[in-house]
């Protein structure tokens, strides 16, 4: 019964002024964190034993202890290259999300715009966007721009579709009410459509945040001159230095976990509901 009230309190925003007074119980949280960590540890130990007993070549599979050792010994490098990848990922996410939200706002208001734009958006969606990287390098040069462009494009679609759905998920009676006091289109957007879309935007952000990381890493494979973890992986696999490859992947995993967690935390802080509200009738 201890965990019950905590779930309910999740539905309240701090702005209601009804902030939970008691510190949240961490025990249920530990219940979620400990089992996967133990499973991961068992897997690592198993690989370690396998590599040592079977004398697997370091060019095929490095020892987990070796990877960890390298990760911490060369932490500065992975951290700095990770920051570059993170920058590309977040830059693309910001541009892609902003552009998609703006277009969705237009589409939600205009059927003509919807008919013109949506088929093209779906065409872009079914195209593997990474295929455009060589083209983007020609267009945007060898710097950050082509990488950010790919991350933005890969992020764009889930946000667009969710935002359109969100802007339209408006109670028709509520819309009638706004009309009955002659509210302007802007007022209907600002006070009805936009807040209605917030849960949808967060749902799409959960998807697109990891997509943007994929886009960034793949782009870095092509543009290995500017660094980033994708470039590290590309260069080190050419040198058959698998410990370094795994260490870079480990850093990518940590970035991915951090980004996803950040979205979940932001959702709890800024979204007005996570799922259907608990109706007390």
């Amino acid at each position: 019964m201890i965990s019950e009230p905590i779930r309910d309190l999740d539905h309240l925003e701090p702005t209601t002024g009804r902030i939970p007074l008691a510190a949240p119980d961490v025990r249920p949280l530990l219940g979620w964190i400990v089992p996967p960590l133990v499973a991961l540890l068992i897997a690592a130990v198993a690989i370690e034993v396998w590599v040592r007993v079977a004398e697997v070549s370091v060019w095929v599979m490095p020892r987990p202890t070796g990877v960890i050792e390298n990760f911490f010994a060369d932490f500065g490098r992975y951290f700095n290259e990770g920051l570059k990848t993170l920058g590309v990922s977040l830059g693309g996410l910001a541009i892609g999300t902003a552009a998609a939200t703006l277009l969705a706002a237009g589409v939600a208001h205009s059927q003509l715009l919807e008919r013109a734009v949506l088929p093209i958006a779906i065409m872009v969606k079914v195209t593997p966007v990474v295929a455009l990287i060589p083209l983007f390098i020609i267009w945007f040069g060898h710097g950050w721009n082509p990488k950010i462009a790919i991350a933005a494009l890969i992020t764009y679609f889930p946000v667009l579709i969710n935002a359109i759905a969100g802007f339209r998920d408006v109670d028709p009676r509520m819309h009638d009410y706004f009309r009955s006091v002659d509210a302007s289109t802007w007022e209907i957007f600002r006070h009805l459509r936009l807040p209605a879309a917030v849960p949808y935007l967060f749902a799409s952000l959960k998807i697109s945040v990891t997509l943007s990381l994929i886009g960034a890493v793949v782009a870095e494979f092509f543009l290995s001159g500017q660094g980033g973890l994708g470039a590290v992986i590309w260069i080190e696999q050419n040198n058959l230095r698998l410990e370094q490859v795994f260490a870079a992947v480990l850093m990518l995993t940590l970035i991915g976990v951090t980004l996803s967690t950040a979205v979940v935390v932001a959702e709890r802080l800024f979204s007005w509901r996570l799922d259907q509200p608990v109706t007390a009738s």
């Binding site: 309240l12 509520m174 009309r179 009955s180 007022e187 509200p277 109706t279």
Partner: protein, 279 residues
């Protein structure tokens, strides 16, 4: 300073002249939802509109509110078009579902009508007082989802009243509530109907759509009975019981007699039980 463009007592609250509604179904057939209807609702009159489900009473209300354009005929609200009534925030709408903004507190939901189209916000109502009057004191900071259905509908009523509208349009506002709450709410509505009203405005009128005969007779000055589709008004029954009415009134002979007349009119939809309104 002229705050309200409408002169008191100069115009009826609602005037319908040959208003009808026909729409095309997906199969291409024409469906007459509302038969040509003429009707006058005086300022200060509480009118109930009863009829079987699907008879077009909601359509009629939506045409009065300017939310549905009639296929023909003219609607005037205090001598103006429904669109003008919307622009000057003369209409207080309440629906069957509370239709509150889920992300706003009760207080901010009540304030919504004052916030929108702000040039037309005259005589700002005291929102705290209004929340107290509808019985939601202490729940100002709650979200709609944290309230019961009855409390949500009280919040919706407060929101409608916050702009101090001279015409309340209520579309089965208590239909989704349990029987006990419904019976309470009709007397609450009677009380709220006259609340915080600007004396420069005409006395507040209401059009109350319901399919409950008891509800209509308990609260209204006048009950209009509609026939099944195509809906038209087949009886216009005055309810002259004095106000304020108490729940005990529902046990009186007068109440029982009035409901019997309305029920008889509902049963014989083709032959009017009472002569039609001359208007």
């Amino acid at each position: 300073m002229i705050k309200h463009p409408i002169e008191p007592d100069a115009e009826p609250a609602v005037r319908l002249e040959g208003v009808h509604l026909t729409y095309e179904t997906k199969q291409g057939a024409l469906l007459e939802a509302v038969h040509p209807t003429s009707l006058t609702i005086r300022a200060g009159e509480f009118t109930a509109l009863v009829g079987p489900s699907g008879c077009g009473k909601t359509s009629l209300l939506r045409m009065i509110a300017g939310l549905t354009a009639p296929s023909g005929g003219a609607v005037s609200i205090f001598g103006r078009t429904p669109k003008e009534a919307q622009r000057h925030k003369r209409l207080g709408l309440v629906f069957q579902e509370p239709a509150l903004l889920a992300w706003r507190s009760v207080e901010d939901n009540v304030r919504l009508g004052l916030q929108l189209n702000p040039r037309e916000t005259h005589s700002p109502t005291n929102v705290d007082e209004l929340i107290e009057i509808v019985g939601l004191s202490g729940f100002e900071r709650y979200r709609p989802a944290e309230l019961s259905g009855g409390m949500q509908q009280r919040a919706a009523l407060a929101r409608a009243l916050a702009i101090d509208p001279p015409l309340l349009l209520l579309d089965e506002p208590f239909a989704a509530l349990d029987e006990i709450t419904r019976e309470q709410m009709r007397y609450e509505l009677q009380r709220l109907w006259s609340v915080s009203h600007d004396p420069r405005d005409p006395p507040r009128s209401a059009v109350f759509v319901t399919h409950s005969v008891a509800e209509a007779v308990a609260i209204a000055d006048r009950v209009l009975v509609m026939s099944p589709r195509p809906g038209r008004i087949i009886a216009d029954i005055p309810i002259t019981a004095p106000r304020p009415r108490q729940p005990e009134h529902e046990h009186s002979d007068r109440f029982i007699n009035d409901t019997a007349i309305v029920r008889a009119a509902l049963r014989s939809p083709t032959t009017p039980a009472v002569p039609l309104d001359a208007a």
